[in-house]
């Protein structure tokens, strides 16, 4: 408990497989994306929504994880904070992922949209629809683009503050940095709450511009946090097995990671059930129409599958105590949750695509797979590039010594 830093850490080279496989995935994904762009821009835009919402989950979720670590002063999460810090670089991918959507909305401003995606972008439709014209001050092309870019800028600013300070701390070992970051984290929380809500409303809820649900931002947040913890777990467990993490990561750290994944899987179900139950029970047409297409035909089975994929399977896989400390099980659950989050985004957004195609059958093909592959590989690729010259644990952090001695 001396004043000097006693944490021992040696920076090791990243596993070669990470950059190799992520760049292969990136190239294959990009090829598929370009191919799909030449065929059907509308479908590309919808599939890019999967990529964008996933990337935003990683970027914003990582910042949230960092802020939570600073605010609560929790010690179990400190060794993993650097992974989250490196993952915040995913924010640079956001413009690429959102490009097809934003480009189309930009064209819609002049009234020459290439394809139909957001109903409220068509001026003629809005003028004829009293509800849409009432919402026009919020749902219009310029403010949509403005909000999206503003959120990116805000995230980047906070990324530079919180993550930058932490990088500096690796060299300075200045303990005051923790206090500074904690103060900024508190401000970030408010920014985060608004940003994630508006992202969810703009990109996913406004696909059906008549539909509204006050819980929607929290719905997306629940998935986001499960996803980011899963991402951190996946990387941390792999790195720890290869000896890249610091000495002292023990089962109690794993247990905490597993516990958070478990908790937020359950929390998502709670939020999703609350939203569904209230709308089902009140049975007002202006709300139920969102659930109707999801409860008919093939979509009905896919909706039931959502309960299993997003809740029952990860819940069952990690309810036992030993399963939360078993590295193999943790990796499986983590990958499953990331996949389930993308499935959830797909389930929320794709019925609109089916509707636009005037059919009840769902769409999931190589276009979507290609974009998802592109997005996931891009996140890992960016992570690998950014992690190259960085320590994998925040060795300068004041809590570090306690963190590696952490026991439940």
């Amino acid at each position: 408990m001396g004043a000097s830093i006693t944490v021992e850490y040696v920076k090791k080279a990243l596993p070669s497989g990470l950059i190799k496989w992520s760049s292969i995935g990136l190239i294959v994904g990009l090829a598929l994306v370009i191919f799909s762009a030449t065929m059907d821009m509308q479908r590309l835009a919808f599939s890019s929504l999967l990529g964008y919402m996933f990337v935003m989950s990683i970027a914003m979720g990582a910042l949230f994880f960092i802020a939570l670590d600073h605010i609560t002063g929790s010690i179990w999460s400190t060794p993993f904070r650097r992974i989250a810090e490196i993952l915040t670089n995913a924010i640079w991918l956001a413009p690429i992922m959102a490009a097809p959507i934003l480009y189309n909305i930009f064209l819609e401003m002049g009234g020459h949209g290439m394809f139909d995606m957001y109903h409220w972008t068509h001026d003629a439709v809005v003028a004829a629809d009293p509800f849409l014209s009432q919402k026009a001050p919020y749902l219009n092309e310029s403010s949509f683009i403005f909000r999206t870019v503003l959120i990116w800028v805000l995230m980047i600013i906070f990324k530079f503050i919180l993550v930058g300070n932490s990088y500096k701390q690796d060299k300075t070992f200045n303990h005051k940095t923790n206090k500074v970051n904690a103060a900024f984290s508190a401000i970030f929380m408010a920014v985060f709450a608004v940003s994630i809500t508006l992202t969810a409303i703009d990109f996913m809820m406004s696909l059906e511009p008549h539909w509204f649900s006050t819980i929607f931002g929290i719905y997306y947040f629940a998935g986001t946090f499960a996803c980011i913890v899963a991402m951190i777990t996946l990387i941390a467990v792999n790195f720890n097995e290869k000896g890249l993490m610091i000495e002292g990561i023990n089962k109690d750290h794993y247990y905490s990671l597993g516990g958070w994944m478990f908790a937020f899987t359950t929390f998502w179900m709670y939020i999703a059930f609350s939203q569904f139950m209230l709308i089902w029970y009140a049975n007002i047409p202006e709300e139920t129409f969102w659930y109707m297409p999801r409860m008919e035909g093939t979509w009905a089975y896919l909706s039931i599958a959502l309960i299993f994929i997003k809740f029952l399977v990860p819940f069952g896989l990690s309810i036992q105590r030993p399963s939360k400390t078993n590295p193999k099980r943790l990796k499986l659950v983590a990958m499953w949750i990331i996949g389930a989050h993308i499935y959830d985004i797909w389930w929320v957004s794709y019925p609109t695509y089916s509707h636009l195609k005037e059919t009840h059958s769902p769409f999931f093909g190589w276009q979507e797979l290609g974009f998802v592959l592109f997005a996931i590989s891009a996140v890992f690729f960016v992570f690998a590039i950014a992690a190259k010259n960085k320590n994998i644990v925040p060795i300068g952090d004041a809590k570090m010594e306690r963190a590696i001695n952490f026991h439940l």
Partner: protein, 473 residues
């Protein structure tokens, strides 16, 4: 060894000890059990006579209500749900902080909760008892309430309506009470055994023996006991969420503007924890003064609670904003009207009391000076309680008082009986709290002992000795 000069607040390298100052295990026993052994001091008598007076006011009002009927209350068309449900939701909410402290913070390994967990659990139980009074008296004939509320076989094949949120409430609140009570009692068993082994009087010893069930501190028992405690905490956590969620369903499943909004479940839970923490903080500030427990409930614990009040206050603020935004965004005219009416209609005064008490005033907790000032934090927490009571009032009354037909609109005013019952509920709650601190150890002895500095064996033994050791604890 640590000395008092350590700056735990500014130096994150060192962990704050849970029990400040160095005490032997025996001294911990003595300090915690002291209020049970000595005669109460004058402060206690003043406090309890005050709370008993409040209780009497409520009891008289209730007696009059039973005798003359519920016409004494202000409830009337169109505001049929008024103060009774407001008070019910308020008190159930108060209880939630107790479970949060005892269960959720236990799962999150926030060790500072050990000092106040027992007290918070007791508060949960008393708050739920207080809350239960309201729906039961609201049935009109409380002595046969069980017949209306529970499914029991009868010759008419009449079953309760399982699709009604009010019935979910019956199950949720009774489950909540039972599980909280069991959780509390399980925690008390080892402490009863401590009391039993210290007791000198024959009756005391008999009573403690009965309640301790013959606990022997056997490690073969601790093994199951610890697992059970963890499971109970794990079950109480979703339970506490579900209870206020179901309370929010009472409102949200209906199609009344201002009630039917999907954010209600998490919003109610956040609000419950918010007000509950304010109430726990208020009570702790009083209790540590009355029973001279300043060192067992350190100010740093209160400061952490103030941070949670700040956080949950902002969550509640988020929900207020979201509701307003979506009311406008939905383009639904009755919905928009309901919210504009809330903020600028005849009940605007209540709305702005609620908004300022819940969102603006807790912002003072951003300042460390305020968070650590006993007087200021007490005042702010009182404001939060007032604000949260008004939140339920605003939700219930503003929506109901503006019915769909303007001809049915009416302005609801609670009567003096309504207020007297509310005052009585405070009296009941605080009387129970004061009696509890007198007759049972207000701090979990075994839990506190387990987190003292020398309480646990050095971990080296644990890890080198057996690789699988982590599975066990």
């Amino acid at each position: 060894m640590h000395t008092e000069t350590k700056d735990y607040d500014n130096d994150l390298r060192i962990a704050r000890p849970i029990v400040e100052g160095k005490r032997t295990l025996k001294q911990i026993d003595d300090a915690i059990i002291a209020p049970l052994d000595r005669l109460p001091n004058i402060k206690f008598w003043i406090a309890i006579s005050f709370t008993l007076t409040l209780l009497m006011v409520g009891a008289i009002a209730l007696g009059l209500s039973f005798y003359y009927g519920t016409g004494l209350w202000g409830n009337n068309n169109p505001v049929g749900w008024a103060l009774p449900i407001v008070n019910f939701v308020f008190w159930v909410g108060i209880g939630h902080a107790g479970t949060l402290i005892s269960a959720i913070l236990f799962l999150l390994r926030q060790r500072w909760r050990n000092g106040i967990a027992r007290f918070a659990e007791a508060m949960t139980i008393f708050a739920v008892i207080t809350a239960l009074i309201f729906p039961i008296i609201h049935t009109g004939r409380p002595w046969v309430a069980a017949v209306y509320l529970l499914p029991y076989p009868n010759q008419h094949s009449l079953w309760v309506n399982f699709t009604s949120p009010l019935l979910w409430d019956v199950f949720a609140v009774s489950t909540y009470f039972t599980v909280s009570f069991v959780f509390w009692y399980v925690g008390l068993i080892p402490d009863f055994a401590v009391l039993r082994d210290r007791a000198t009087g024959k009756i005391k010893k008999l009573l403690y023996s009965v309640f301790s069930l013959g606990w022997r501190f056997s490690n073969r028992h601790w093994k199951h006991y610890e697992m059970m405690y963890l499971i109970l905490a794990g079950m109480a956590t979703p339970l506490v969420l579900s209870v206020h969620t179901i309370v929010s369903f009472d409102f949200a499943v209906s199609i009344l503007p201002g009630w039917h909004t999907t954010i209600f479940p998490p919003y109610f839970v956040a609000g419950a924890i918010f007000s509950g923490f304010a109430m726990v903080q208020n009570s702790l500030v009083i209790i540590r003064k009355i029973f001279d427990m300043e060192d067992l409930i350190p100010i740093s614990t209160l400061e952490l609670m103030n941070k949670i009040i700040l956080l949950t206050g902002m969550m509640v603020g988020y929900a207020y904003t979201m509701e307003f935004f979506i009311a406008w965004y939905s383009g639904n005219q009755p919905e928009t009207f309901a919210f504009v009416n809330r903020a600028f209609g005849p009940y605007a005064w209540a709305y702005w009391i609620m908004f300022s008490c819940n969102v603006f005033i807790p912002q003072l907790f951003w300042f460390k000076k305020v968070r650590r000032n006993l007087f200021l934090m007490f005042i702010i927490a009182v404001f939060v309680n007032v604000g949260m009571w008004f939140e339920r009032f605003v939700i219930t009354v503003t929506s109901l008082s503006r019915d769909f037909l303007p001809s049915s609109w009416a302005y609801y005013t609670p009567t003096i009986t309504d207020f007297a019952i509310l005052i009585g509920s405070f009296g009941l709650f605080f009387t129970l709290v004061l009696i509890f601190v007198r007759v049972l150890p207000a701090i979990a002895i075994a839990e506190i002992k387990a987190v003292t500095e020398q309480g646990q064996p050095s971990h080296t033994h644990l890890h080198i000795g057996n690789g699988k050791s982590n599975e066990a604890h």
